[in-house]
């Protein structure tokens, strides 16, 4: 494409040279032509004008002579009275004889009648001339007046009437203007030009062409003639009788007549045309010479360029360069430099090509060689030989480049080299010695050395096991994670069991302590001790609740929740918690992020994380909380320990605090692990977070480094369900008790006694059962009485749940309130309709018990 569009340099050069020659030549020719034209035209015009003026002068003098002549007649006639007319006739005869131009001469009287005429003509004598405009004009002007000319029908010659008015006589002469024809006939303008005399109307009176005179041809419409009739003489190129002519007009004095000198414009400017032709010939000749020179010159200039082009083509095609001199006979320094440069370039290209071929061979060798480094060094460590694999391993471009370098510079740990040398010294060889080697700018390579001493040199193989080592490290890390998870799990189970038993004890303690407190008057001295028991038991209850939470034994009340609402809802509390030194930044998306969660539990997660963050930022900082919906594939889900792939809501909580060391990170989720001082934290914060998240089927991970802050990332399974509104929990007032009958099943004697006592004090009827089976039996017996079943979850024979099912068989829709400090798997595994069953967590205070019972009556 490009070669098609490109213009040939030779064309350019030729055109350029031509242009250089053409422009000044054209300009010069133009100027010269203009100059010559101007001069020549001016000369022709001047000549023509002079001729016209000369002719007008001659005609004028001729006419003036006639005026003088008739004026003499008038003067002579004036002296004669009318009676002496014979003398007058003689006078007239003399004048006619003396002037052949004068055809007829008349003396006209005051009335305009012809009184005397010569020659005698009865037709003229006595004729009334008063109607003649020339007579009228002459009498008005009182001066010699010329009529418009007419062509005499008799003679075919132009005739004019001259009138010289006088007091007595007016002299009128008919003049034959054929003399004018003679004057005109001998006038030549240039080779073929001529002259004409026109009367005041523009009618031709005399012309070289007598036909024009005969036919009364008028040139009155020619502008030049029109102007000349009014005295404005001039010269111009104009159209006369259909022919373009150079014409000069001159006025004849006193008459309004015009003398016109004309010449065909071609003839008038013939000289000019010759000059133009000559100039044109010179121009064409010059241009031809310029073109020839340009062509020759461009060929000469282009010859070395073409040669260079051919050599370049040969070079590109890998052919041998054509022999012969590049420069032609005509040499130019610039072209010489170009060809020299080209030759240098050609040899450089050749050299580079050879180097390329060598390099290609080396590469092929490399590909062909096994990826095991082979090296031979001197005893001092200088590389004598190495294969490409070795060079590659050490990040050196080529085996050649490696030669002569010291192996010592590649050891990451000089100690490992010392060990290698020591072993060589001791055993004469080294087998599978693991060392770290530097590899250019890349990461360290882990290799196995297999060397043996061979005379004064060391030779052997180097096997790169970096990838293997990395895999092993990865594996070790995963194993550690698993172990940690198992440990947390085990601790959780242990804690759950302890907490359950402890809950029962605490329920009893709290219950009796309450009763004791109620029994003692307010001012009793032991009242303080009872309050101490209640307070301590309350702290213990809180501790067991935390443990249960961590061990995921706390029952959940899950429902679809938009986590954005949840985060926004807890934000105010978190801000209070963080204090003024820490910024709390929330970044939530536009779309809902619904997950099925127990909102109270999840709020606890956020609060715990915020608490940790605050403690990590004693000097203030920023806590940011963001949430987004993500889709996780099987790999990602597996790495996080999630059940499977799917959509998740990711909550990210980051602080700008002091961060954690690797050691701390490893133990962070373990219960009772704390970096805070004695008495400042329970060590359960993150453990509870972990427990709650796991209980929701999610995962929590942390990223941190000392000084770089901590980021906690929580993944929770996303739900498609519509979120339910979060309702702020309202305190339900403690009911005044009631008269209803309650079936209480509790295997722990102490707990049962406290519960029964509390209910009875509040006015309820109570039926007691020691386990689930007994509870079902009691219900069967007294089903009509029982308004509510209060069942412990974990009981011998029939547990709470089994008992519940049995009771519901007996009376569907029976009100049931379950009590538990540790639900275990009892409630979780099967789809129990928890909506119709209340749950009373243990340990509980009598107040909690009565409120839940009253709630059960009101709601279930």
């Amino acid at each position: 494409m490009r070669s098609l569009r490109a213009i040939r340099l030779s064309t350019w050069l030729t055109a350029g040279a031509l242009l250089v020659a053409l422009v000044p030549a054209l300009l010069l020719t133009g100027v010269a032509l203009e100059d010559v034209s101007l001069r020549e035209q001016e000369r022709s015009a001047e000549r023509s004008a002079q001729l016209a003026q000369a002719l007008a002068g001659e005609v004028g003098r001729f006419l003036d002579a006639q005026v003088i002549h008739l004026t003499e007649v008038r003067i002579a006639a004036e002296g004669h009275p009318a009676s002496e007319h014979y003398d007058l006739d003689d006078q007239l005869k003399l004048h006619i004889a003396a002037n052949p131009i004068l055809r007829t001469i008349m003396l006209v009287d005051g009335r305009g009648r012809v009184a005397h005429e010569e020659p005698d003509d009865p037709d003229i004598h006595g004729t009334d001339l008063s109607g003649q405009p020339w007579l009228k004009a002459a009498r008005v002007r009182k001066a010699a007046t010329w009529s418009t000319a007419t062509i005499s029908p008799r003679t075919g010659q132009p005739t004019v009437t001259l009138v010289v008015p006088g007091a007595t006589w007016t002299v009128v002469g008919y003049l034959d203007l054929s003399t004018l024809q003679e004057i005109v006939a001998r006038t030549r303008s240039g080779q073929v030009g001529g002259a004409a005399v026109l009367d005041s109307d523009g009618t031709i009176l005399a012309d070289q062409d007598p036909r024009l005179v005969r036919e009364h041809t008028s040139l009155g419409e020619v502008p030049l003639v029109k102007r000349a009739r009014f005295g404005e003489e001039g010269t111009e190129v104009t159209t006369i009788l259909g022919q373009t002519r150079l014409a000069s007009a001159a006025a004849v004095a006193h008459t309004g007549w015009v003398v016109l000198v004309t010449e065909p414009v071609q003839a008038a400017f013939a000289k000019l045309d010759r000059s133009r032709l000559l100039l044109l010939l010179v121009l064409v000749g010059g241009l031809l010479a310029a073109a020839l020179t340009a062509v020759l010159l461009s060929r000469r200039i282009l010859r070395p360029l073409r040669a260079v082009g051919e050599r370049a083509r040969a070079l590109a095609a890998g052919e041998p360069l054509p022999a012969g001199e590049v420069a032609g006979s005509l040499r130019f320094r610039e072209l010489d430099e170009l060809t020299a440069g080209f030759e240098a370039m050609a040899s450089a290209v050749r050299a580079r090509q050879e180097a390329l071929e060598r390099s290609e061979r080396s590469f092929r060798d490399l590909v062909d060689t096994p990826l095991v480094g082979v090296v031979r060094t001197s005893r001092s460590g200088e590389v004598l030989f190495a294969n490409q694999a070795m060079a590659c391993l050490l990040g050196v471009p080529s085996a050649e480049a490696l030669q002569g370098r010291q192996m010592a510079e590649f050891y990451a740990d000089p100690g490992q080299r010392a060990e290698m040398l020591a072993r060589l010294e001791a055993e004469g060889r080294v087998t599978n010695l693991e060392v770290s080697l530097r590899s250019g700018e890349g990461p360290l390579r882990t290799v196995l050395l297999n060397l043996k001493r061979d005379g004064e040199t060391l030779a052997g193989m180097v096997v790169d096991i970096t990838v293997l080592k990395q895999s092993a490290a990865e594996r070790e890390k995963l194993e550690q994670q698993l172990e940690r998870a198992q440990r947390v799990e085990a601790v959780g189970r242990l804690a759950g069991g302890v907490a359950h038993d402890l809950n029962n004890v605490l329920t009893a303690i709290i219950g009796y302590a309450h009763m004791l407190a109620e029994a003692l008057p307010q001012e009793h001295e032991e009242r303080e001790s009872v309050d101490g028991i209640l307070e301590a038991a309350g702290r213990a209850a809180a501790l067991t609740r935390s443990l249960l939470t961590f061990s995921r034994k706390q029952p959940l009340q899950p429902r679809p929740v938009d986590l954005r609402d949840l985060v926004r809802g807890v934000a105010a509390m978190v801000r209070r918690l963080l204090g003024e030194d820490v910024d709390f930044v929330i970044d939530l998306p536009e779309e809902p992020l619904v997950a099925v969660v127990d909102p109270a539990r999840l709020e606890q997660v956020l609060v715990n994380l915020a608490t940790n963050a605050r403690d990590a930022m004693p000097g203030g900082g920023r806590l940011s909380c963001s949430a987004e919906r993500v889709a996780l594939g099987p790999d990602e889900a597996g790495l996080l320990g999630l059940a499977g792939p799917g959509d998740f809501v990711r909550l990210t909580v980051s602080d700008t605090g002091q961060g954690m060391s690797e050691e701390v990170q490893r133990q962070a989720f373990e219960p009772f692990f704390t970096t805070k001082g004695q008495g400042k934290g329970t060590g359960l914060g993150l453990a509870i977070v972990h427990g709650i998240v796991r209980q929701h089927g999610g995962a929590v991970t942390l990223q941190s480094a000392p000084g770089a802050g901590t980021t906690m990332v929580i993944h929770l399974p996303a739900s498609q369900a519509a979120a339910t509104a979060l309702v702020a929990a309202t305190a339900t007032p403690l009911g005044p008790g009631g008269k209803e009958t309650i079936l209480v099943a509790e295997d722990e004697e102490a707990v049962r006694r406290v519960v029964v006592a509390t209910l009875r004090r509040a006015g309820y009827q109570v039926i007691e059962a020691r386990d689930g089976a007994e509870a079902v039996a009691r219900f069967r017996d007294r089903r009509a009485e029982v308004d509510l079943c209060l069942l412990d979850v974990i009981m011998p024979r029939l547990n709470g749940r089994e008992a519940l099912e049995a009771i519901r068989l007996l009376r569907p829709g029976a009100r049931v309130l379950l009590m538990s400090g540790f639900t275990g798997d009892v409630l979780e595994d099967r789809g129990l309709e928890m909506e119709s069953v209340g749950l009373l967590p243990k340990p509980m205070t009598p107040t909690d018990l009565l409120r839940h019972v009253r709630l059960a009556f009101d709601r279930l």
Partner: protein
């Protein structure tokens, strides 16, 4: 500065552009449609030249105006003029020359005598002649190649005789008849004779030939010898003027009459007091003040520095009539039928009607000379 003032169209351009102009003009000329050649045959020299020159001038003005307005059907008209010299032989040669030049039609002749000389020739060559002023009655009502813009002598003589009998009470009329244009003058003599006889008058004819070596006074005396109470001069303008002068030298009161051929402006100039009060017919009222005629008169005056006479006006109309025909058919064979199909036509002084023979019907004016001017007789 340009050395020579130039009035030719190409010369009006800067010199350097002239070559380009020339090339463009050549190109345009190549593209331009060829002009329509129209012949003009007028008596430009000889004794009756005044009619011919006026005819040529009127025709030329009409052609120039048509061309300035874009020509005929986009083609220019080219008027090719010949002089019939008021000589039958010269007239025939002139017509033949025009036929050979390829003209599509001819404007002319200006006198009946010349029409007489070439009509057969035109009929043979199938070349249309549109004569502005030929009026001899013998050409009326013929299916020939002649179209007449002038009224027949019959209508002129009828109008004039009616006037001379009714107002001037002429019973016995002397006539001076120029035989050099006998076709015309004889038609007048015949017409006047018929009309006058019909009205109970009588006629005495004295003939002469223009240009003969016979004093005008003698001719005038011959007419006066008839003892008539009116004299009709049938001669060209110069002769008419001269004869009137001679009559007035001898008889100051004899009523004088003339034809439109003889009583042109030249007759007024040369006749002076002698032609004052003479009555004659004209096809054109040269004193007409209608916008159309004034526009024509002003253009003619500007072009020729003189007022137009009836011959100029009729020539002008003849060209316009022919142009109308050429617009319908610009071929030599077809233009005759095209002109004959025109029917009515707007002339310089009202509507003209052209019958199927190409004879025109138009107004007739009886004019007189008063104070050196030709005016309608009351």
């Amino acid at each position: 500065m340009c050395g020579v003032r130039s009035n030719a169209p190409e010369a009006a351009l800067p010199r350097l552009a002239r070559h380009a102009w020339f090339a463009a003009a050549l190109l345009l000329a190549g593209c331009q449609r060829p002009p329509i050649k129209v012949g003009g045959v007028f008596n430009l020299s000889g004794r009756h030249y005044d009619l011919g020159v006026s005819g040529r001038n009127g025709a030329t003005l009409a052609v120039e105006e048509l061309n300035a307005a874009g020509g005929v059907g986009g083609r220019r008209l080219e008027l090719m003029v010949q002089d019939d010299q008021q000589d039958p032989e010269a007239a025939r040669k002139a017509v033949q020359a025009l036929v050979d030049l390829g003209v599509v039609a001819i404007i002319g002749h200006m006198t009946s005598a010349m029409t007489e000389a070439t009509l057969e020739q035109a009929n043979r060559a199938h070349i249309l002649m549109v004569s502005p002023t030929t009026s001899a009655a013998k050409y009326q009502g013929l299916d020939d190649w002649l179209v007449l813009l002038n009224l027949s002598t019959r209508s002129s003589t009828a109008a004039l005789v009616e006037r001379m009998v009714r107002v001037e009470k002429v019973k016995r009329l002397a006539v001076l008849q120029d035989l050099s244009n006998k076709v015309f003058t004889q038609a007048w003599v015949d017409g006047v004779a018929d009309e006058l006889t019909r009205r109970g008058g009588e006629l005495r004819v004295v003939t002469f030939t223009s240009g003969e070596k016979r004093p005008l006074g003698e001719i005038a005396e011959a007419a006066l010898a008839e003892k008539a109470d009116g004299l009709l001069v049938l001669a060209n303008s110069l002769d008419s003027a001269g004869l009137c002068q001679q009559v007035r030298k001898r008889d100051l009161r004899l009523p004088l009459f003339g034809s439109d051929w003889g009583f042109t402006q030249d007759a007024v100039v040369h006749g002076g007091q002698a032609v004052e009060g003479a009555l004659f017919t004209q096809k054109v009222n040269t004193e007409d003040q209608s916008p159309t005629y004034r526009r024509f008169r002003d253009a003619y005056q500007a072009r020729y520095s003189r007022a137009p006479d009836f011959a100029a006006a009729l020539s002008y109309e003849a060209v316009q009539l022919l142009a109308e025909g050429l617009r319908r058919d610009a071929t030599r064979e077809g233009v005759r039928a095209a002109v004959l199909s025109i029917g009515t036509f707007q002339g310089l002084q009202g509507t003209l009607k052209l019958d199927r023979f190409g004879d025109v019907e138009r107004k007739q004016f009886v004019m007189t000379v008063r104070d050196g001017r030709i005016v309608p007789a009351e």
